[in-house]
Symmetry: C2
Subunit: 426 residues, 2 copies
């Protein structure tokens, strides 16, 4: 851990618990986060208020280890996407688990990472904001150890970056990779190899930017299946090889080739294993981020480990604890958590367990049918034994929109002992 990271994480541990952090025990007000963690309170009996989102300590550690092993086994450099958690404590654990650096999506996220001493950032997005580029230029100039790589996908984007960086008087060039779009109608990225070459030419024409490779996001391949994703990844590799052959990477130490969200990293591993010999070593950068908490919905279905079970399995690490506040009919119940507390963009939360008087059992016959801002609507079948006051634990779908609803998240061991608190910055 760098001294900067240690110092900033220590500041987080010294923060006072107060009204800013929902779900935490009201009687912990005024304690520091470290003091509260030191008390090892129990999530169910330690005065926590509902709703409260908890991370499983064991599952988090399992997931961190599994992707470390996976990346190492496949010769991939790992820069997990930090937008998922925006939690510097998790960034640090990812780095301790072998990550090369952290991937991020927008400059605000880079500011958070830099405030916590992260040295290597892969900004998997175009960046043409003059104010942000001015800040990045200053950050690069102030710290020779800071490495940043960002996307470019248009000649105009390159011109705007160059103008902003020249205005800012940047002394170190910003490293860029050309983004190849995942197909027609897909998201960002130049759509054709010819456009990619034009963008690379534009980069070569500046003194403020340096081309270091190619990248893209196979998660947006239209009608994605293994075949289409693999075909696109091969286009990306061929683009790198073509650029290399054209001498575009002369003078570098490595050539960056990056892809890999959370749904197709098996295909990325396979295709990146076939990267032909280039004039320089390839830095095969995988960016998956959702693995850290995994989930009980979208990524449970999409995880590549379903196709390669012999390589392991991620474990959903989130559980949202809520309380039944109303049971107005035999078919309906309402809990005190809503859109402000749970992801609802890909799936509604999944009722998993009910706790009453310290005993836990499956939430049989309980389904979320809708979300209000501060309530979820539950439909209950005759089998459902559910009453006002029961705690209901939910699995969630989509880590990114789960983390971003909580600023300080208890990390609990299997018996409910809360051993840590994870701070997020959104």
């Amino acid at each position: 851990m760098t001294a900067d990271t240690a110092q900033s994480l220590a500041r987080l541990a010294a923060e006072r618990v107060d009204h800013r952090f929902k779900g935490l025990p009201p009687d912990a007000d005024g304690l520091t986060v470290a003091e509260l963690a030191g008390q090892r309170r129990n999530l169910f009996t330690g005065g926590f208020a509902t709703p409260v989102l908890a991370l499983s300590a064991e599952r988090l550690e399992h997931n961190l280890k599994l992707m470390e092993t996976y990346a190492a086994r496949h010769g991939l450099t790992f820069a997990p996407h930090g937008k998922t958690s925006m939690a510097p404590q998790l960034f640090q654990r990812q780095i301790e688990h072998g990550a090369w650096g952290i991937t991020l999506a927008v400059p605000h996220q880079v500011r958070v990472a830099r405030a916590f001493g992260i040295r290597r950032v892969f900004l998997a997005n175009e960046l043409v904001d003059a104010a942000a580029l001015r800040w990045i230029a200053a950050e690069l100039d102030a710290d020779p150890d800071f490495e940043l790589i960002c996307y470019v996908d248009s000649v105009r984007g390159v011109e705007l970056m160059d103008a902003a960086l020249r205005d800012a008087g940047a002394s170190r060039p910003v490293d860029v990779v050309v983004e190849l779009a995942a197909g027609e109608g897909a998201r960002t990225g130049a759509r054709t190899e010819a456009e990619c070459a034009a963008v690379a030419d534009a980069v070569a024409g500046t003194r403020t930017l340096r081309l270091v490779g190619v990248a893209g996001y196979e998660g947006e391949v239209p009608k994605a299946d293994s075949e289409r994703v693999t075909a696109w990844l091969r286009r990306l590799v061929a683009l790198a090889a073509g650029f290399d052959e054209a001498g575009r990477f002369a003078g570098l130490d490595t050539i960056v080739v990056s892809a890999g969200g959370s749904a197709w990293f098996d295909a990325v591993a396979e295709v990146f294993a076939e990267i032909p010999e280039l004039s320089l070593p390839a830095l095969k950068l995988l960016r998956s981020g959702a693995y850290v908490s995994h989930d009980d919905g979208h990524y449970r279905k999409l995880t590549p480990f379903n196709r390669v079970p012999e390589e392991g399995a991620l474990e959903p690490a989130f559980r949202l604890w809520t309380q039944v506040v109303s049971r107005p009919s035999a078919e309906q119940a309402f809990i005190n958590a809503g859109k402000r507390d749970a992801a609802y963009d890909l799936d509604l939360p999944f009722a998993q367990v009910i706790r009453r008087d310290g005993a836990e059992r499956p939430a049989t016959g309980v389904t979320v049918t809708a979300m209000s801002d501060q309530h979820a609507w539950l439909a209950t079948t005759p089998e459902a034994d559910l009453e006002v006051g029961d705690w209901v634990g939910f699995g969630l779908s989509h880590p990114c929109t789960s983390f971003d609803k909580w600023q300080l998240i208890p990390v609990a061991e299997a018996d409910g002992t809360v051993v840590d608190y994870v701070r997020t910055f959104f």
Copy 2:
């Protein structure tokens, strides 16, 4: 303003601007919020980074005044729903504009309000969480000026509240109102008058709770139209009159009758004007919250002012400023704001204006078609003159899920001068 409120708002003004607050100028790092506000920077030229959500100073003030006037004209006591903004600075302005107190949805929100010296809280929800009730009991005991009213809708809920408050050694009773559900299949609330009476009986059987009225939320009336909403409001009023006749409010100063979200306050005003003479004065409590920012979508369509234009019109006060980062084809563009930055639950954002080189024009031919976590997908027609680097300003739908994505929101005058920053707590 109370001394507590003044002191806590002064602490907000003294907070340091840093990586916690997205969109703010990176070069403002280390300034206090008050210092930054004192610089009166311009939103477009003052170093703000995109995406950034801005509130209109003039429209905010207009909306605050309009609802103050509206409530006064109709003899309604106003407790605007604070869950919308969760911004203590706005709570204070609402109180300065005549509000009786602040409505909230969950105990965490009450903690925020209390940290900012709010004296009167209407908790428009059931509350059976023992940890939260223990805190509330302590708060009531510590401050004789603190008034809290909360919902009850089940006998079991009353029993749980009573047990928790007795355990906590509460000395002041918690004031409660019986919630009448808005109909079969609606949200929380006892479904029938008989059930409401049973709940009121249960309250009367405790020493920890005191029945002070009735309440409900007409926004959940199934297949709501003026007729159905009015019919339900009349049921609510009749419930209050029946309880009064039965002597359930003996010994009080007023009888609380509360309803009113942001879609039917005209019906509430009309029906509450007809409340028959009770044994005590009625406190006719309106709870609308979305008016403070209003919006360009859901509430623009639903606002009662569409039916009573002679009483005024709310003005949408939010604009989300984003930047085009990619323009991969003539039909598509991508901006650097996504699900983390804009409400997307009721409608997608509405492209309103494009800024380039300091000039602003309508965003003709630009439509949001989808949201990723950190991007929005724009479809563009041949008329759309849009390129990488352009700033695009969006209107939003749903104030509650707009406020909650921003922790420090610039308040800008029409010419872009940022005169204040509003802090939120979610």
